[in-house]
């Protein structure tokens, strides 16, 4: 096969930027690249924040070590001990510290916790992360499905009493910060009316329960997660209702819906395949954004309900200055959110043929 001059020129120009450019234009690769870049930026940011801030955790630890030893340790001794604790060589130049840190991260080694020496950060995270994902995921999915149904209904019965009730209620509840709603539940339903045994519901599951696929255990974890789930459900519900309502209203005005009615399609088919399917599209992307937001909110919620998830652990780590753990948790949550976004991107491509089959140029 002969090589045309054009191909030679193309080959010569395949520098990093061209390769990067090619990635950037392909939708799936682009989403993946963005995901990796996001994780890298967050990780790097926290690395430098922890080491370079005035009064950084490393300095604080050194101070703490010197103080607790009542002068027995010199600054250098304390620094050496801190070095070991952070599992980085504080004497090495910063870029080497950074490279070795990133190397460890790539190998899945997030270091060890300060406090419980010898426990890996990874194992701590693995113990608490599922509970948060369970509560957040259940709450989000519930609010998403209920919100979509109510939003659709509200749009169909535009300006009815039901519509006003649902939209006003939804927007009021969603403008209340979720942790304040949590506080109100604790105060009013828990302390004042004593309808909910707040103290019993702490933790991810009851003491003495054996994890496993038993009905008891599953019931128990739902019992313990019920308050966080309720909060995530209630505070997200309004957003879904309002978004779905306006997306449905927009879809109802579309020519293809009028055309479908002109074709005599049944209302059921029009609602599901013509109105609903198109209205839900923009909400898929919103779902990913909501994941990040709700996961962040979980920190405060878990604190209020004392639910043993990653948020509670993160705060404990912050208060105990267990920085490797803080860093690890941040990395993992970022990854989780980024994956959710990636999934949403890919799902969107599948749901909307106009995106998925890019390149099929119109005439």
């Amino acid at each position: 096969m002969s090589v045309t001059p054009a191909e030679v020129r193309l080959a010569a120009r395949l520098g990093p930027r061209e390769v990067f450019g090619a990635f950037w234009t392909h939708p799936v690769l682009r989403a993946a690249l963005k995901a990796i870049l996001t994780i890298w930026v967050t990780t790097t940011l926290t690395f430098f924040l922890i080491r370079l801030m005035p009064g950084s955790p490393v300095d604080l630890k050194i101070d703490e070590l010197m103080q607790t030893s009542n002068g027995a340790l010199t600054y250098d001794d304390a620094r050496a001990i801190a070095s070991g604790l952070f599992s980085i060589d504080l004497n090495a130049p910063l870029h080497e510290q950074y490279l070795s840190f990133m190397g460890n991260v790539l190998h899945g080694n997030l270091g060890n916790s300060f406090l419980s020496a010898g426990t890996s950060v990874t194992s701590i995270i693995l113990a608490v992360l599922p509970w948060t994902l369970f509560a957040v995921g259940t709450g989000l999915l519930l609010s998403f499905s209920v919100g979509i149904a109510l939003g659709l209904l509200a749009a169909y019965r535009r300006n009815s009493f039901f519509d006003r009730l649902v939209t006003t209620g939804g927007s009021v509840v969603s403008s209340i910060p979720n942790y304040l709603l949590a506080l109100m539940i604790v105060v009013i339903l828990g302390s004042q009316l004593r309808l909910i045994p707040i103290a019993q519901m702490r933790g991810a599951f009851s003491p003495g329960m054996h994890p496993g696929f038993t009905l008891d255990f599953i019931g128990d974890i739902f019992y313990h997660a019920s308050l966080p789930i309720t909060i995530f459900f209630l505070t997200q519900l309004g957003n879904w209702i309002l978004s779905m309502r306006s997306a449905t209203l927009a879809a109802l005005d579309e020519d293809y819906v009028v055309a479908a009615r002109a074709r005599g399609l049944t209302d059921g088919r029009i609602t599901t395949a013509y109105v609903g399917r198109n209205a839900i599209l923009p909400l898929v992307t919103q779902f990913a954004i909501a994941t990040g937001f709700v996961l962040g909110g979980a920190v405060v919620i878990e604190q209020i309900f004392v639910y043993e998830g990653i948020g509670l652990r993160l705060l404990a780590a912050i208060n105990q200055r267990d920085y490797p753990l803080v860093q690890g948790i941040l990395l993992i949550t970022t990854t989780a959110v980024v994956i959710a976004n990636l999934a949403a991107d890919l799902l969107y491509g599948r749901l909307d043929p106009r995106i998925g089959r890019a390149g099929g140029a119109t005439g």
Partner: protein, 280 residues
Amino acid sequence: MIETLRLLSRRPVALIGLGGVIFFVLLAYVAPLVVSLQDAPDVTSVYLSPSLAHPLGTDYQGRDVLNQIVHGGADILTVAFLAAFISTAIAVTFGSLSATLGGRFDAATLGLTDIVLTIPQLIVLIVVAAIVHPSSFLVMAVILALLQWASLLRQVRAQVLSLKERDYVEAARSLDLGIFHIIFREMLPNMTSYIVIHFILAMTQAIYAQVGLIILGLVPLSGENWAIMLYFARDQGALYFRDSLWYILSPILAIVLFQLSLVSLASGLEDIFNPRLRAA
């Protein structure tokens, strides 16, 4: 402006929102000038129920709750306003620059924006706040702003991109009216409504994040504010006492009502500025 107010007056929700916002601004900035701060503890009157002397009861140290509510708004509102201002300024400046300059600057801004949008912002905020320990309004506002400029930037950029292609902007270019005319006379007036609405929503976000951080105790606690009241209410276990109801509910309601006012004002304005409604 007058037109806006006239339209506003026809929307009860927006009007209630506007009234609420004005009420809270007066409460936070003017009322403290009238009512002096009473922060002396009085152990004989802990957790009193509402009465004429203490319309909202007293706290765990016997201090008047209403007095604290009056004095506890300014900090929250100031930080929220500053944060919204900074993030809006960043978003508008870089969003329009990005759209106007295009090329690598645009690509870089857009890439960064995409990344910031994907990061779980509140968690990063918690970690950053824990490390930085923001002790001044400005630092606090900057940290909050740094995490919320991204979505507005994308929208401003999209707006400018679309405005740039409008026929009337092209006409202004070909009439050689100059870049200042194009930006300040042709484009910005078409974006103000949009920016105002997002400014208001940015304030609600800043309040959400700010109060959350304070309740978690991640921000140095000094002075009086609604969020600090809640922090101490939790810290002192007031959540679990039956007679502390008003002490806890007061700051919660203050924050919630202010948020609600902002949100209804924003949605009212949105209705008003919506060209479809306006044309009708």
